[in-house]
């Protein structure tokens, strides 16, 4: 399988690409519009410098060359494109020739990352819900003219998992640059995948482009479906036709949107209403200097803070960086706390409830991890305290007290463990003979007896002391 990706991302600018209208999702239809983005006769586009800056940040984060560039007109008639042409970069994009390294080290080349304007949004009423056959269509031009960057990868991706990892990594990079909010559900990022199949070592096969995938899950499913479709087609003696295909999430299959022969002739030519774009070296230097660390760098920084890191912990680090939770981990590290515990709690408990992060202060998190590491809280108790903090905030110590998580004294624990050993001599013997798994058996019993208040670590320590 060979996959190349085209990713459209909306830029987080205050205003649109060529006018002063607000770039804001979710406003009343046709309220963020003006003569320019409505394409009224006589209006002219003026390039938004903030959008150029964000596009440069994306290019720099993807190791692209930034070069003098131009804008073209892509001509086609469609009601949601107010001028009936789209202003887009064409043969001379602002960013070209970069790469993106996946967390597993695979390098995916980036051919270009160019600027263009978004279209409006059509709603088709009646009939099939698509343009053809609808009773009437309504157009909302709020999105028309919103700045986009289209990032085009080389045909370097070899599996749907890799495509998903690429999309996720790119999303992290776009969020880190401040260029995008990464909100897939709001259409902030949209994926097109060019999929072809071949026998290993043979030249590339004919590709099909799957358009407008808007979640990581549909991206992966659509690629798998499409590759299989092509393989079956070829094995049955057929040939793949170059075409654009639509992914139906509900039915889980792709279908023909248009074949190459029907492809529109966009009659590209230089946009005469705009001048060439050539960011000065000084401007580029300023943008580069202000570029924050990218996810790959942040992952390796975080990994370096965990001694003898395990593969599971590496996976947890990916999640922490993905969700931008490293401020919690770093605070723990800075306070001299247990980074491994912090990473694990971030990647699990915090990740499970990111919407509620506003309730959790960094200090409360640091205190909770310190209590767990110091044995004041068992892992189970620590998770419960974090859950409570995420739901309603507060102070971890008072929450622990309110839940009755007072520390069981060492004596109590010691006599309890001695008692358990006496009751289960066979298991104790096997544990003593080296079957470490049985420690879990004893921890479980201790938990049961104390209604979860026992600290598993302390139980194991007591067991080991009695070996």
């Amino acid at each position: 399988m060979v996959v190349g990706m085209e990713v459209h991302t909306e830029l987080l600018t205050k205003s649109k690409l060529f006018c002063g209208c607000a770039n804001h999702f979710g406003s009343e239809p046709n309220t963020n519009v003006c003569p320019v983005c409505l394409g009224l006769p006589g209006s002219l586009p003026v390039l938004n410098e903030d959008a150029v800056e964000l596009a440069m940040r994306i290019g720099m984060a993807l190791h692209c060359t930034i070069a003098p560039s131009t804008f073209h007109r892509k001509n086609y008639f469609y009601p949601d494109q107010s001028k009936d042409y789209q202003i887009s970069q064409y043969d001379l994009p602002i960013n070209s020739g970069g790469y993106l390294d996946l967390p597993d080290g695979t390098r995916i080349s980036i051919e270009r990352a160019h600027m263009e304007e978004d279209t409006g949004k059509s709603t088709h009423i009646g009939g099939s819900g698509r343009l053809a056959g609808a009773d009437r269509s309504l157009v909302d031009y709020n999105r028309c003219g919103v700045p986009l960057v289209e990032i085009v990868s080389g045909p370097d991706i070899r599996s749907s998992e890799q495509a998903r990892a690429y999309a996720a990594e790119l999303r992290g990079i776009l969020i880190a640059t401040g260029a995008s909010d990464g909100r897939l559900e709001e259409g902030s990022m949209r994926f097109d995948a060019n999929v072809s199949v071949r026998r290993t070592g043979e030249p590339f096969g004919t590709r099909c482009e799957i358009k407008n995938l808007n979640s990581l899950r549909s991206l992966q499913r659509a690629i798998d479906y499409e590759a299989l479709r092509q393989i079956e087609l070829i094995e049955e003696g057929g040939t793949v036709r170059q075409e654009t295909r639509h992914w139906d999430e509900g039915r889980g299959e792709t279908s023909t949107l248009r074949v190459k022969e029907d492809a529109e002739d966009y009659r590209y030519f230089r946009e005469p209403d705009l001048v060439d774009l050539a960011p000065s070296q000084e401007w580029q230097d300023r943008v580069r200097a202000a570029l924050p660390a990218m996810p790959a760098q942040r992952r390796s920084d975080l990994e370096a803070r965990i001694a003898n890191i395990t593969p599971a912990q590496k996976d947890a680090v990916v999640v922490v960086i993905d969700l931008g939770l490293e401020n919690f981990v770093n605070a723990v590290a800075d306070a001299g706390g247990d980074v491994a515990i912090a990473v694990s709690r971030c990647a699990n408990e915090l990740a499970a409830n990111v919407e509620a992060l506003g309730n959790l202060t960094v200090d409360a998190f640091v205190a909770t991890i310190a209590m767990e590491a110091g044995g004041e809280l068992s892992a189970t108790q620590s998770k419960q305290v974090l859950a409570e903090l995420l739901t309603s905030g507060g102070d971890p110590r008072s929450i622990a007290a309110a839940k009755g998580f007072e520390q069981l004294s060492a004596d109590t624990m010691g006599s309890m463990v001695a008692e358990l050993i006496e009751k289960h001599p066979d298991e104790w013997q096997r544990y003593k003979d080296g079957d470490d798994k049985l420690s879990g058996f004893f921890v479980g019993l201790a938990m049961k007896q104390t209604q979860g208040k026992a600290n598993g670590k302390v139980v194991i320590a007591e067991l080991q002391a009695r070996k």
């Binding site: 006769p41 042409y85 009659r267």
Partner: protein, 473 residues
């Protein structure tokens, strides 16, 4: 009739009022508009308010501006808030812009009073106003003849003494050619000198707004008023507006003026004679005449008729019935767009949209549009070389005096050839003007074209003024 400069002086001094000057303008318009078809729309109420405001400011002792109380006619491809703006096309039926073109704001700020919108060839495509959906404008000097185009209405407004000033737009000669045919001064400024914001585009890389007037001084004052950087137009020159009226009497002593063979050869005898007489007059005023040949200019017409239609095919796509103007209902949106454009555009506009669409199409782009761009570069370089040998260039504006209605409508090529002398400057982005000098058949005026390198407007006005005064004006 008084010049714009004289009216502004008298309004400012209290010798007359803006309201009185406006009333005179409307009297003149009402007297001949039915016969000549100059104005498509008059904004009487709005103009009276602006004039009253000018008078109030004068009464308060304010310095209103260089065009205080001067009535001005506006070509109907310039947007003015709340005023029907049609481009002389049925497709804009009923549309009223919600915003002003930058030039309108600048005019009003300088005290000028826009009186109404003038007729043009549909979307500025034509050389006679015969392509207007609302009927042709007649030449006030001889109503059996065309006023030229596409800014024919704006030229006729000044020639008929309705207003001392008007604004036109020039894509391939649409100001200079009607100025020549109506005996006026008409200037196409350096590309980017005047903001295009609010000018409904024909060919964006060629269009420029410019002045019509009876005198060179009025032309300079009007251009000064509308020129200068506009952040709303990315192609606007980011530099201070030049001082022009102060240099009108600078003269041409010591200037080298290039007489360009390709800019008069093939013109009527009377036209060629006027060009030669103009050279003599400039020589007498102290200039040196250098005879030049720029063969590349002959390629201008062909390149223009690929580049301008190509841009127009894209610029005019937005007239699709979805958001504004005419909508002809049909079963689905594509059919609606087709029906609207079929009913809304006239024959010449359709011809150019098809020509431009073809020139940009895959498989033809390199041979047509791409090739035309190369020719454009050749032309730019040829002009540059010429300006090493001469400060300004001189030639004819048009091959003949004003022609009769219907004379050139049968074959589009004969109409296109009327712009053969004016088109090259637009492709180069340089300024040029037409100034009346001499007469031809039926005593009709002949226009002399003066061309200069980018930003040479002051020198062009000085040379035009030298011809004007040699003519005893």
């Amino acid at each position: 009739m008084k010049s714009a400069v004289e009216i502004a002086k008298d309004v400012q001094s209290g010798a007359t009022t803006a309201s009185a000057e406006l009333a005179k303008a409307y009297d003149a318009i009402r007297a001949r508009n039915e016969e000549l078809n100059v104005f498509l729309h008059l904004d009487v109420e709005g103009a009276e308010k602006i004039a009253a405001d000018v008078d109030a400011r004068v009464a308060r002792g304010e310095n209103v501006g260089p065009l205080a109380g001067v009535p001005i006619a506006i070509k109907d491809n310039l947007c003015q808030i709340g005023i029907p703006t049609t481009c002389s096309s049925k497709i804009l039926d009923g549309w009223k812009p919600p915003y002003n073109a930058t030039v309108i704001d600048r005019l009003v700020a300088a005290g000028a009073v826009p009186v109404g919108k003038t007729n043009l060839d549909e979307f500025a495509m034509g050389s006679s106003t015969e392509n207007s959906a609302f009927g042709p404008t007649r030449n006030p000097l001889d109503p059996s003849r065309v006023p030229g185009g596409s800014s024919g209405g704006s030229a006729a407004a000044v020639a008929a003494d309705m207003t001392p000033l008007s604004l036109g737009s020039d894509t391939g000669g649409s100001i200079r050619q009607p100025a020549a045919l109506c005996g006026l001064v008409g200037m196409k400024p350096t590309y980017g000198l005047v903001s295009r914001y609010g000018l409904i585009a024909f060919a964006s890389s060629l269009d420029q707004i410019g002045p019509f007037s009876k005198t060179v001084l009025d032309s300079a004052v009007l251009l000064e008023t509308i020129a200068g950087y506009d952040p709303m137009d990315s192609t606007s020159l980011n530099e201070p507006a030049p001082s022009l009226s102060a240099h009108v009497n600078d003269g041409v002593a010591g200037k080298r003026i290039g007489l360009v063979k390709e800019l008069y050869e093939g013109a009527d005898e009377s036209v060629v004679a006027s060009v030669m007489a103009a050279c003599e007059a400039l020589k007498a005023a102290g200039a040196t005449i250098v005879e030049l040949s720029i063969p590349e200019l002959q390629l201008g017409l062909s390149a223009y008729y690929l580049i301008a239609p190509a841009e127009a095919s894209s610029n005019l796509a937005r007239f699709d019935g979805v958001r504004f103007g005419l909508r002809v209902d049909a079963d689905d949106v594509t059919a609606m767009m087709e029906a609207t454009r079929t009913a809304g555009f006239g024959a010449e506009v359709k011809r150019r949209i098809m020509l431009g669409t073809y020139a940009l199409s895959a498989g033809y782009f390199d041979a047509y549009y791409g090739q035309a761009l190369k020719v454009r570069t050749l032309l730019i370089n040829a002009f540059k070389k010429a300006y090493e040998q001469a400060d300004l260039l001189i030639g004819a504006t048009t091959p003949s005096v004003a022609f009769k209605f219907g004379e050139k409508t049968d074959n589009p090529m004969t109409m296109y050839l009327n712009d053969v002398f004016t088109i090259p400057t637009n492709l180069a982005g340089d300024p040029a003007l037409s100034v009346p000098f001499g007469t031809g058949e039926e005593n009709l005026p002949i226009g002399i074209q003066l061309l200069g390198p980018g930003r040479s407007e002051a020198q062009l006005f000085a040379a035009a003024r030298a011809l004007e005064s040699a003519d005893g004006r």
